[in-house]
Subunit: 190 residues, 2 copies
Amino acid sequence: MKLLEEKIRQDGTAVNEHILKVDSFINHQVDPALMQEMGREIADHFRNRGITKVATIESSGISPALMTALSLEVPMVILKKQPSKILNQDLYQTVVTSFTKETNYELTLSKKYITSEDHVLLVDDFLANGEAATAAIRLIRMSHATIAGLGVLIEKSFQPGHEKLKGQGIEVYALARIGKMGENYIEFWE
Amino acid sequence: MKLLEEKIRQDGTAVNEHILKVDSFINHQVDPALMQEMGREIADHFRNRGITKVATIESSGISPALMTALSLEVPMVILKKQPSKILNQDLYQTVVTSFTKETNYELTLSKKYITSEDHVLLVDDFLANGEAATAAIRLIRMSHATIAGLGVLIEKSFQPGHEKLKGQGIEVYALARIGKMGENYIEFWE
């Protein structure tokens, strides 16, 4: 998606070979019109495949997932990072190791919101090592739902997430694929 | 907002006098079309007041805030619950006591995204005791920005949040105001 690549070139910062800062329009400050465009683009790619739910991981996946779900006219389900006492105890649960935060956390899903009837599109902001996505897919599969694929805004293609998910039979669609980056340069893959 | 009141009556559950579960359309599973309607309604209430940013608190405020910001055609800024190592160190920080989670957490804001030039509308899903909103306003005011008001989806009007914020000179606009509730009944205020 040319629009996103241009925005990354203009407002993103490659801090080093691994860290890309896009907190001026994706993570911390969010550009709602761009987010709507990006959600529509992911929705268009996966349209007419019988998707019944869009799922995402709390919290930076919420904006792209909400816009994708809006365009596909299906509910969004947020996989929660910890059980809240307001949710009931009827939950699927799994543990995720976060590369960014260097911590483990628990991902939870109420059994009510994804069932064996569902065909689920997972949406997130970033794909890097694929740890969060792999855990999310593991969690969704506990419900015996099927997975339509993974849509992400930005993929760090030099990290193993894409290949790892492909190996599990998951189609990955990324709006921008970064092949290589370093201090102040970013190389995109077509 | 009649639409939201009807939805709460239909799909919400008053567990007891204090806990309202709306996790089938607001918190855990999200209805994107309803969320867009609600965001537009909050935006319409505060339109033409020179709002430059919509701010919200991670993470259940993100959906309504994104839709409000989309309608107002301004950026959304997410007040983060903890500093990420990807963000730079140039942050405002404050501590919040959470009633729901019974814990303290740190709320942070990058100094880049809200400045003294901004007129900020705060948006969240719930207003109850007003602890999170009060902390968010304290954080935003560190930047010397001005506050246009607080827009929320659901206000528990029997808790002190609304009065507390009014006392600080903050206009509160809630799409649904719950005057009283208990096991299986909910009373709305006009």
